[in-house]
Every structure is written in C-alpha cells, then in structure tokens.
C-alpha cells in the first residue's frame, strides 16, 4: 500500500488564531457591559460601527492585495483579528461620537496600520491604538466629548436623540458632555488646587472616577480569564500595572496634595483595558519572558508620565505605541538562557 508522507509533528494542537481572537473578544464582554451600564447606548453604537467598518476594510484590503477574503475556516476575514481591532477601537471612543469617527478610526487601523505593513502578524504598531491616536490628534473636540456616567446625569439622552447626534450631527450634545475624571483632575491640578479639594467633586468615586472604577474592575475580570486560559501572558499586564503603581506610589509619597495614589490610577481611564487587552496585542508587543515585563513596565511608567505631565488626560495609547517601537530592541537584549548554557547548570527548576 502506498501513502503520501507528511512531516512530523503529525499532531496538531487545538489552538488556532481565530479561537484565540474569539476568546479575547469574549473576555471584553464584562467591560462592554459595564460601559454600556454607565454610558448607555452610545457605547454599543460605537462598537457596532467600529467592528463593521473594521471588517469591511479588512475585506477590502484582502481583496486589493489579491488575498482570498475567506479562504477557509479561521483564516482571512474569519481569523477574528479585524473584529477584535474594531471592538478595541470602539471601546476607546467617546459615546455618541459622530458616526464617521469610528469609521475613520477603523480605516486608519486596518488600512494604514495593518495592511500597508503586510497584514496580520506584520504590523509593528498596535492597529487599534494607531486608529485612536490619529483620531485624537486630528479631531480633539469630537474625541474629548465624553458623557458623564449615568449616576451624574440627571436624565439620560433618549435613543432618538442619541441616534440623531451620531448620524446627523444634531446640536445639543454639548449640554450633556463633561470632562472625564482624569481630565478634570489634570485641569484642576493645573489650577493649583489640591487633590483633597478636587476629589470632593462627585466625579470621583471610592477608588477611581465614579463608574470608571467598576468599568476597570470589569476589564480586570476579563483579563483574569485570559491569563487563566493562557491566552495572554501575565507579565505584560503585571508589568504595566506595576509600572503605574510604582510611579503613583512614589509621587504620592513625595507630595500627597499634588498627586493621586496608585489605586486611583489603576482604576481610572483605560488602565485595565490597556493592560489586559491592548498592551497584550502579541504582534506588536515584546515576546521574550523577561522582555514582556520590561515592555509592560515601560508602558506603565509612560502612562503615568503622560497622565501627570503630558498634554493628554490619559496616555495608554501613546505609551503602547512608544513601547511598540522599543519591542524589537527589548527582545534582542532579553533572550532567555538556552538549556545547557551558562554558569548555573545545576540547581532547582527555573522557568
């Protein structure tokens, strides 16, 4: 009997890119629900617009590049990466932003940051963050009009109002929008008020900003699931959150009136979303075990620096992009010791 030989290993593990992307998208659900709870329908509109636009641009680019759009289960458009990029971008946008904000962001992320660099696996920068940063720099007004959380909002805008703001650009949204807690803290600190005075504002909750602390907790929950399932390495979020905590502890110890402590910074803004879902984008992150710790630490320190002294209230996107640049160098200098090499060849197990 004749056979057609293949090469070893013949066993194929159960993990696939699409399953990985699916699990990461699934882990976003608690965070999405929390954001929906606090910010209403605008969050879902952003997600739907960004995800659909991302998928459409992915399909368009695959077609332009002469690649099959959906050649098989789990590849092309089906690999789930475009959907995830869309979701992450959508979660970063202010609720009730005009419809072209998510669409333009998805265009930048998928076309410029992903496919022009060679598509899946070849993008040096986190596509969702490129999309976000381009929007933030180009349309600062639209990108900083955040709704306050529902607790602080007398009456939530109706669905009709929401849709007409998003799709027709009707006037009246300004009446609702407010500075986010991080933004408020920054502005007020700039006016030489003390932290004590500032946080008496109802914007600030028990730990972080009102509502924002629960949103961050929900992302932390999703992140814990991903660490447990082995889909992300604890080193990146661990490094990033440590970086933020270390910096915040250091400065609050120096001057408690001018700086806020680690708990506030960890549970404000995009800290948890960034640590578990954005910094962990494998393609643009560091890949060595030690390198991932340094990479995460670097992001955390940069987030704190930008929040405290930079031009923007939050700094996750810029911090991630800056560390993306450094990732190849970090990888080069943090190669693990190969088995059977080095001085310490005797001793208990190491990982």
């Amino acid at each position: 009997m004749q056979f057609t030989p293949r090469n070893a290993p013949f066993l194929v593990g159960p993990n696939t890119v699409s399953a990985l992307m699916r699990r990461v998208s699934l882990a976003l659900v608690p965070g999405i629900l929390a954001m929906f709870w606090y910010f209403g329908i605008g969050v879902l509109i952003n997600l739907i617009l960004a995800a659909c636009a991302a998928m459409a641009f992915e399909a368009l680019m695959l077609r332009l590049r002469g690649r099959p759009i959906a050649p098989a289960q789990g590849s092309g458009l089906n690999d789930g990466s475009a959907l995830l990029t869309g979701l992450l971008l959508g979660l970063c946008l202010p609720p009730l932003a005009p419809w072209w904000i998510p669409v333009l962001g998805a265009f930048t992320a998928l076309v410029l940051a992903k496919h022009l660099y060679g598509g899946l696996g070849f993008n040096p920068f986190n596509p969702a963050m490129i999309g976000y940063v381009v929007l933030l720099v180009s349309f600062p007004r639209e990108m900083t009009q955040w709704l306050p959380v529902n607790d602080l909002l007398g009456q939530a805008p109706s669905l009709g109002d929401s849709l007409s703001w998003v799709f027709t650009g009707a006037q009246g949204l300004d009446a609702y929008t407010q500075a986010t807690p991080l933004d408020h803290l920054k502005t007020e600190l700039g006016l030489s008020r003390t932290v004590e005075e500032i946080i008496s504002d109802p914007k600030f909750g028990g730990i972080g900003g009102t509502g924002w602390e629960w949103i961050n907790l929900a992302y932390l929950l999703g992140g814990a699931y991903l660490i447990k399932s082995g889909d992300i390495d604890w080193r990146i979020p661990g490094g990033m959150l440590s970086g933020i905590a270390i910096m915040a502890t250091l400065f609050v110890a120096l001057d408690g009136d001018a700086y806020r402590g680690p708990a506030f910074h960890l549970f404000s803004g995009a800290a948890m979303l960034g640590a578990f879902f954005i910094a962990t984008d494998p393609v643009s992150a560091s890949t060595t075990p030690k390198g991932r710790i340094y990479y995460g630490l670097g992001i955390g320190v940069l987030v704190y620096l930008i929040r405290t002294w930079g031009g923007y209230p939050d700094g996750v996107a810029f911090a991630v992009l800056l560390m993306n640049i450094a990732a190849p160098t970090i990888d080069y200098y943090t190669q693990p010791r190969t088995f059977g090499e080095g001085d310490d060849l005797k001793g208990p197990g190491h990982d």
């Binding site: 009997m1 056979f3 090469n7 013949f10 194929v12 590849s75 696996g121 494998p282 990888d331 197990g349």
Partner: protein
C-alpha cells in the same frame, strides 16, 4: 527529589490501545531485507556473498570504524541479493541491504553463553557488545560499544531511559512488564563494565505496571540499593536524553557537550535488555519489540519482530488495515517520520509502526502568519525563542538563526503543536539546519582550496628566490674570473637573459589555471 525542565506538553497518551495485550513474536517471513546502515556512523560492510548460506545470528556485515555497528542474519537461510533496497528513512531513498531467503529452520549459530559476567573484564564486555551489533534502541541508534567504551570522565551515574514520552508508543512499557529481569541484568552488566555504582531507571508515571514489575524484580534480586526506579511526571518530552537527566538530577548537559561530560550515561531499557542477551546469552541484536498501533490497524499491540521483516507482515499479523488508514509513520506522532510504502523492513530503530486514520493525525491546516503570541516559547524544552528562529529561517538569515541557538533544538515539535497559526515550525528548523551544514561543508572546502593556493604561492615564491640566489652566485663567480674589458658586454648579456626569463615567467603565470584571480570565493 525530581527537577523539572522548561516547557513541555501534556499530550493525549494513546498508550492503552496497544499496551494491554502481551507481546507476540512475528511469524518468520519468507524474505528478510537487512539494511547495512541501521546506526549512526558509517554503514557496515557485508562479509557474506550472494549464494552463501547463513545461520541465525551469524554476522553478515562488520562495522568499518569505531562509530559503526555489525549486522547479523536474523534467521537462517540463503543470501539472495546484496543490493540497494528501499529502507525506512525520511528521504525515502534506497540503501544497501543483504536480502536473505529464510529456510524455515531458524537455526542458530553456536552461541557463546556466559554464566558469570562478573568474571569478564570491561574490555571483553565491550567486545561482546560490539560484536553483537548493539545500538541505542530508544531511536537514536548510536553504537552502544562506542558509548560505553570511552566516557571522557568516569561514569558516576547510569540512567536507564524508560520514560517513553511519545504518545502511542508502548514497546518499552511492554518490555519492562514482560522482561524486567533481563533489563536489570543488562543494567548490572553495564554497571560492571562502567565501574558505576549507581543507576536510576526513569519511567513516566503513566506506566505503573512497568514500575511495579521492575521494583518487584529489584526486590527479588536485592538490588534496591544500587538501582532505583523513579516515577516521573508524564510530560512530553521527558524521554529526551537531556530532559531526562535534568528531571532526575537537576543538572544540565552543557550545550554542544554530551552527558559523558558530566559523568552521566543514558541507555534505553531496550538497549539494556539487548546487552543482557549479548553478554549473558551470546545472542546478537536481531530482533526488537515494535508497537503496532493507530486506528488504521485492527489489533493494536506489541510484537517481537526480526530485523528485516517487512512492516506489512506486522500489520497483517495484527489483523490487517482498518478502513480509512491514511498515514503510515515509523516512530511516534511527534518525532517519527512518514513512510511512503509499507513493505519496508523493520530496522534496529523501529520502535513503533503507527497506521493512523485521518482523524487521529489530521492534515495540518493552511498556516497563517506568525502572530508572535509566544506560545512556542512557553513550551520549548530547550528554552529557545522558536518564533525568532522561524522568522530568521524564513528570511534565510542563517547567521541569526545560529545566534538564536538553533543547534540546541531537539526537534521535539512542541512549538509546532501549540502554534495557533499552524506553522510547520520544525520544517523550517530542519531546513535551516541542513543549509547551515551545507554552508559549513562549503566553508571547509573553500578553506582547503585557499590553503592549497597559499601553499602553491609560497612554493613559487620560494623557488623564485632559490633561482635568484643561484643566479647571483653564478654572477659573482663570473665576475670574479672575467676581466674588466668584457665586463660590460657580459653584464648586458646577463641583463638580457634575466629580462627574457622574466617575460617568460609572466607569460606562464597568465596562462596558469591556478592564477591568483581564480581563488575560490569563500
């Protein structure tokens, strides 16, 4: 105390399918095809001729060097051909085989049994191992005599590998259950030859019956002090030599070195049993335990097969193929290789014949690009960065590949197993390794050519200098005898002659095929 190595995989074991039935001998085939190259090193050279009658256990080929192994007739019969035949090899190529038509009598040569091996000295034992053609039966088939004869430092610890970490394979398991006394006696012989006082048998804890059976014999023989059995956590690839040493001793074999460098020797359980048969019974290595398994065969079990038996005979004895058999693999599903036909002979390294259907060894889906997730880094037992090796191998940047220590890769396939992009990573590593080997060969050739060229240049320069010296001497002699009057004319004549010689030489050099400009590129 046990240690752990980095990474590794928990795989579905699939050992129960084949390890429940006791092993049975395979019926004597009509024709035995015995390859002359069944070991690492140089092929053996046939010492029989076509038409010779041979007896079971008669040596039919001699090892030609220290790293080589003898080959024996697995049964009695007539040599009908010595010619290239297809052999089980990843290349699918043919190699020289001695083909024996068996006579059905299965008649042994006179065997030299030994009642007390403790009376033999080290040298005699090694000679017996050498003459029996024993090689490492775990799969690496390194000649055992070469390993035992000259360790660089005295062997403090003998490790017997009964880990059998690859899924599906259960031949060592059955051997440990069925012939523990032979294994222990073989270990005693090896320890005697090595002057070693300590031995650990490492067995994965999914083989409790094997562990019990070895312990029982050790108790009966009162050897529990010197020889210990250790149950190891089941984790692929614990059976890798370096990984096993790490788990049992916490020590790492230096990269590029051998276990012998740190006073350790590893032998497979099958090898230990073969040593017993060779030294105590006087029987050479002519058969081995083979696992016949996979959903593509009717009865999954272990068989004792003569070397040279066609694989299809094993399959037939196990009830033949099942519907849907799709792939025939020699060895396990992680490190074995696929065969293109089933009439290939069993060789000394055949531990398993895996007849798999489509579902158990599915075709690898079309690969996606690497997303640098680092799953491969997590599982690599050599602590490498497989994603970087892949990246550079793909770019054919072999210098970088070496910088990232490709030579430490044991090709266990753990990285390719976990890769979510389904990249055939090991294929890239094998490719890079072969290219690096080819480049090294080319470099040696280029170095030799350059050395030859430089030697030639030096010789030409030396000869020219010698000629010049002779001429100067002659000139001096002439000057001394000649009078002043014709000095000038003589000088002119000499100058003209020198000029002619120079012109001639220049012409010759230009024509020469070994002109400096033809120096081979590095």
């Amino acid at each position: 105390m046990l240690w752990r190595f980095h990474g590794g995989l928990k795989l579905a074991e699939h050992k129960h399918e084949s390890n429940r039935l006791p092993s049975t001998p395979v019926r004597l085939p009509k024709t035995l095809t015995v390859p002359l190259h069944q070991h690492i090193g140089l092929p053996a050279e046939a010492i029989v001729q076509v038409g010779n009658h041979v007896l079971k256990g008669q040596r039919i080929a001699d090892g030609v060097d220290h790293i080589s192994a003898a080959v024996h007739a697995p049964s009695s019969g007539t040599v009908v051909a010595i010619e290239p035949r297809p052999i089980p090899h990843p290349s699918g190529l043919s190699a020289l085989c001695v083909v024996i038509d068996t006579d059905g009598r299965d008649q042994w040569i006179d065997r030299e049994a030994c009642t007390n091996f403790l009376e033999l000295d080290r040298r005699e034992i090694i000679r017996k191992i050498h003459d029996a053609g024993i090689v490492g039966l775990g799969g690496a088939v390194f000649p055992t005599h070469a390993k035992v004869c000259c360790p660089v430092v005295p062997t403090e610890l003998l490790i017997i590998n009964g880990a059998e970490c690859e899924p599906y394979i259960s031949c060592d398991d059955r051997l440990m259950r069925e012939r523990p006394a032979q294994i222990i006696e073989g270990i005693n012989v090896l320890m005697h030859a090595l002057g070693t006082e300590r031995c650990i048998i490492g067995v994965e804890d999914n083989k409790q019956e094997a562990i019990d059976s070895l312990n029982q014999i050790l108790m009966l023989m009162d050897e529990g002090e010197r020889i210990q059995v250790r149950a190891l956590p089941t984790l692929y690839p614990t059976g890798g030599e370096r990984q096993l040493i790490r788990v049992l001793t916490g020590r790492e074999v230096p990269k590029g070195g051998l276990p012998a460098n740190i006073g350790i020797m590893c032998q497979n359980v099958g090898t230990a049993a073969a040593v017993y048969e060779a030294v105590v019974q006087g029987s050479p290595l002519i058969s081995r335990m083979v696992t016949v398994t996979g959903a593509g065969v009717a009865v999954q079990q272990n068989v004792e097969a003569l070397i040279g038996t066609p694989m299809i005979d094993l399959i037939d004895q196990c009830g033949g193929y099942e519907q849907g058999v799709a792939q025939l693999v020699m060895g396990g599903p992680m490190m074995g290789f696929a065969l293109h036909r089933d009439d290939l002979p069993i060789v000394k390294s055949t531990n398993c014949v895996l007849a798999a259907d489509k579902n158990e060894l599915p075709t690898r889906p079309t690969p996606l690009p690497c997303i640098r997730c680092g799953e491969c880094v997590k599982v690599c037992p050599a602590q490498l960065l497989p994603q970087q090796l892949y990246w550079y191998a793909r770019a054919k940047d072999f210098e970088k590949v070496q910088e990232y220590k490709l030579d430490a890769c044991i090709e266990c396939g753990a990285c390719a197993y976990v890769c979510p992009s389904q990249l055939p990573l090991v294929d890239y590593y094998r490719y890079a390794k072969s290219q690096i080997r080819a480049q090294a060969r080319d470099r040696i050739k280029a170095d030799q050519a350059r050395q030859r060229h430089e030697a030639r240049d030096a010789r030409i320069a030396r000869e020219a200098a010698e000629r010049e010296a002779r001429r100067n001497m002659k000139k001096a002699a002439l000057n001394a005898v000649g009078d002043d009057a014709d000095k000038d004319s003589k000088r002119a004549a000499v100058a003209a002659a020198v000029e002619r010689a120079r012109a001639k030489k220049a012409g010759q050099q230009a024509d020469s095929p070994l002109n400096p400009s033809s120096e081979p590129a590095e």
